[in-house]
Symmetry: C2
Subunit: 394 residues, 2 copies
C-alpha cells in the first residue's frame, strides 16, 4: 500500500488523531465532490436526473462497487435503506425459506439492534430466538434451527467469527446463514461466495467512509434469491416500477430487495467514497491494519499497562479495531478526545480504537500512544470534566 | 403571497417551465447550502457531529418542522426511512391495535406501492385486503374493518378524499384511519388533529422540495402511540440507544418509530428546504395554486381542447396538480419536455402538471399554455422521436 497516496484521498481535519473509523469514516475528497455534483444534478436536471444522471440505478451500481470488497458477485448486492431494515429483509427471507423450523440462533456478540429486529420477528412468527455465547454457537445449532444470524466482527471486542466454518455448520443442520458485516466490510478480507453466506448485510458509513447515515447493503446468494418473496415489497423492487401495476411482481435477482426511492445525495457521497478502494487488495489492507494494531498493542503494554487488551491477540481472530478494558473507560476516552485522540467508548468498560490504514499510519499510532501514555500516567481522566455525568461519548 | 420573494428562494434552471413539483421539487437555495454545511460538519467534526452538530436529533427536529404544515402537533411527527417503510410501520401498528379484526380497506386510487406493502402484510397475517373504488370506501367499512388506509390525493387525477369524513366513518365502525399524504403535504391545507387521522405518512421530495430520495415522515396520534409495539424496532427507536441493552424498550412517543441511523446529508438538505415555508399559510398557498390551476384549465379548454381534464373540476375536491387525459399522453409529454415544459406522464393516458405557487407564477402558466397549444395544434407528438419506444418518461 502507498500510504501517502491513499491518505491524500481523505480530507482529515488538522490536529486530530482519528482512530474512530469503525464508527464513522472520515470524508474522502471524492465523496464531497460527488455529493456536490449530485446537488448540481438536482438543480439542473430536476426530475430528469432519475434517468439522465443515473440516480435510479444507484442502488445496483453501488452494490456492484461494494461486491468485490466483500467477495461477492457484482449482481448479488444492492444498496439502500438502513441496516435494521436490511436485517429484517434478510431474516424474513431466510425464515420463509425454512418454514418448518422453529428457531433463530444468534449470539450475545451481535449488535443489539439486530437482536431487537430478530426478537420482534420471532415473537410475531411464534419462533424462538436463542441468544448464546459466541463460543456456544456451533453446539446450539440443530434440526430446529432455521437461521444462524451473526455479526462477523463483534462491535465491542473485534472478536471475529469463522464465517466459512459456521456457515458450513449451519448448512450441515439444514439452516441458512445470515451475516452482518457492519464491522467487516472495508476492514477484513471477505469471500462471501466461498464462505457460503446465504445472506449478508452491512453498513457503509464505517470502514467504507460513505458519510453519516450512508445507506446499508444487502447480499443474497444467487441460488436463493429467486425463491424469495420480499416481506417489504417496495415499488422499486417491482419488476416494472413505472408500470404502476396494482399487483406486486418481484424484480429479477437481488434487485427485488430494493424498497423505496433512493437517497441520491447520500448515495452520491458513497459512490465517491468507494473510489478510494481502487487498486487496493483487502488482504493487503488488512495486513497493514494488523501491523498498526500490533504497534498499538505493544505500545500500550509498555506504556499504559492499566489498559487491558480485550480483543483477541491473534490477528486472524479479530477485525480492524482494538478494544481495551478499564473500569474508567468512559472518562479515559473523554480525556483522550480532549487531547485530539478520537476513539470511542462502549459500555461498560471498553475503549475502542480503529486501525484504518488508508488514512492512519505508524506516525499516527505513535502520536496516539503518546497521548495514551500521558493520560494514563497522569490519571488525567480523574478531572471532573471527564466524569460520566458530562454527557454522551459517541 | 409574495411570489417574487418565494421564487427567489429556489434555484431553478434557466429556460425550463417546471410543472413537475409533485414528482420532484426543485432545489431551494437553502437546501443546497444546508447540504454543503453538513458536508463541512462531517469533514470537521467527524463522529462528534452526531451530538455536536445535532445530527442525532434531525429525525425529531424535522418532524417538528413538518408538523405545522400538516396540522399536527410538533411531537407527533418523525422523519427518516422511506415511504414504503413508513406505510409498513403505520399499518402494522394500526393492525396491532385492532387484533380481532380481519380486513384492511383501501381504494384503487392508492399508490400501488402502498398496496404492495398492505397486500403482503395481509397475506402474512391472514387478513383480507379490500381494494374498492374511491367512491365505495364508505360502504366498504364494517365491523370487520381494522384499518382504512387511503392516499388523500390520487397520484394520477389529484382527486382528494374528505379526510375528516372518512376518518369519522372509520371510527364509527371501530376502525383506525391511516392516511398517505405523499401528494398532500406542502400542497393542500391539512388538519390531521382535527380530521381524526390516527396515522399518517408522507414524502418530502415532492411539494416539500427536500431533494431526490429525501426521507419520509410518519405521524401518529398522541393517544395511540404509547400502545404501539413497533414491528421494526430499530436501535434509534430505543429508549436508550447508546445503552446497547439486549432487550428493546421503545422510546416515549413517536420517537419509537425511528429505525436506523439518519441520512444526515439528505436530512440537512430537507432541513434547508423546509425554511421556504416560513411565514406562509397553507390555506393561502393552496388558494394561489388553485388560481393557477384555473388559469391552466381555462387555457387548455380554449386552446387545446383535445386534452380532457381528468381531475375534479371542484378545487375543494382535488390536490395541487392537474391531470389531462389523451390517448397519446406519453408522446405529448415528450413533445412538451422537448420544448421546456416539464410535467410527467402516468399510464395509460395521463399528462400531469403541478401547480406550485412558491416558484410557479401566472407568467409560467401562460408560457406553458403557449407550448401546449403549439404542440397540440401542430400535432408535434406524432414525430417518431416522441414515440413510446423512445424510452422512459418520468
Amino acid at each position: 500500500m502507498d500510504f501517502s497516496a491513499t491518505r491524500a484521498l481523505f480530507d482529515l481535519p488538522d490536529g486530530i488523531c482519528y482512530l474512530d473509523g469503525n464508527s464513522l469514516g472520515p470524508q474522502p475528497r471524492a465523496a464531497a465532490s460527488a455529493a456536490a455534483r449530485a446537488l448540481g444534478e438536482w438543480q439542473g436536471q430536476l426530475i430528469g436526473g432519475w434517468n439522465g444522471a443515473g440516480w435510479m440505478d444507484l442502488p445496483v451500481a453501488l452494490g456492484a462497487a461494494i461486491a468485490p470488497l466483500i467477495g461477492a458477485a457484482p449482481d448479488t448486492v444492492v444498496v439502500g435503506e438502513t441496516l435494521s431494515i436490511r436485517v429484517h429483509q434478510a431474516l424474513m427471507a431466510a425464515l420463509d425459506l425454512r418454514p418448518e423450523r422453529t428457531e433463530i440462533v444468534t449470539d450475545s456478540g451481535n449488535f443489539p439492534s439486530d437482536i431487537y429486529i430478530a426478537a420482534e420477528i420471532a415473537r410475531r412468527r411464534g419462533l424462538t430466538l436463542r441468544v448464546v455465547a459466541p463460543d456456544a454457537v456451533e453446539t446450539a445449532l440443530g434440526p430446529q434451527t432455521a437461521v444462524l444470524m451473526l455479526t462477523e466482527v463483534d462491535y465491542r471486542t473485534a472478536r471475529r467469527h469463522d464465517m466459512a466454518r459456521l456457515s458450513a455448520r449451519a448448512h450441515e443442520v439444514g439452516a441458512l446463514a445470515l451475516w452482518d458485516l457492519a464491522h467487516s466490510a472495508g476492514a477484513v478480507p471477505l469471500d462471501l461466495a466461498g464462505a457460503g453466506a446465504d445472506f449478508a448485510v452491512g453498513c457503509t458509513y464505517k470502514y467504507l467512509n460513505g458519510g453519516p447515515g450512508s445507506p446499508a447493503f444487502l447480499h443474497a446468494a444467487p441460488g436463493l434469491i429467486e425463491a424469495v418473496t420480499p416481506a417489504l415489497p417496495g415499488w422499486l423492487g417491482h419488476a416494472a416500477p413505472f408500470g404502476f401495476d396494482m399487483d406486486y411482481a418481484p424484480a429479477p435477482g437481488v434487485a427485488r430487495m430494493r424498497i423505496g426511492t433512493p437517497p441520491v445525495l447520500q448515495m452520491a457521497a458513497l459512490q465517491g467514497a468507494l473510489t478510494v478502494w481502487k487498486g487496493l487488495s483487502m488482504t493487503e489492507v488488512f495486513a497493514t491494519a494488523q501491523g498498526l494494531a500490533q504497534r498499538l498493542i505493544d505500545g500500550v503494554a509498555a506504556r499504559a499497562p492499566a489498559l487491558r487488551l480485550a480483543s483477541p491477540e491473534d490477528p486472524a481472530r479479530r477485525g480492524s479495531h482494538l478494544a481495551f478494558a478499564h473500569p474508567e473507560a468512559q472518562a479515559i476516552m473523554r480525556a483522550f478526545i480532549a487531547r485530539g485522540l478520537v476513539g470511542d467508548f462502549r459500555a461498560p468498560d471498553i475503549v475502542r480504537l480503529a486501525l484504518t490504514p488508508l488514512y492512519i499510519g505508524p506516525a499516527d499510532i505513535d502520536r496516539a500512544l503518546d497521548i495514551i501514555a500521558e493520560v494514563m500516567t497522569s490519571r488525567a481522566w480523574e478531572d471532573p470534566a471527564f466524569a460520566a455525568s458530562a454527557g454522551p461519548v459517541t
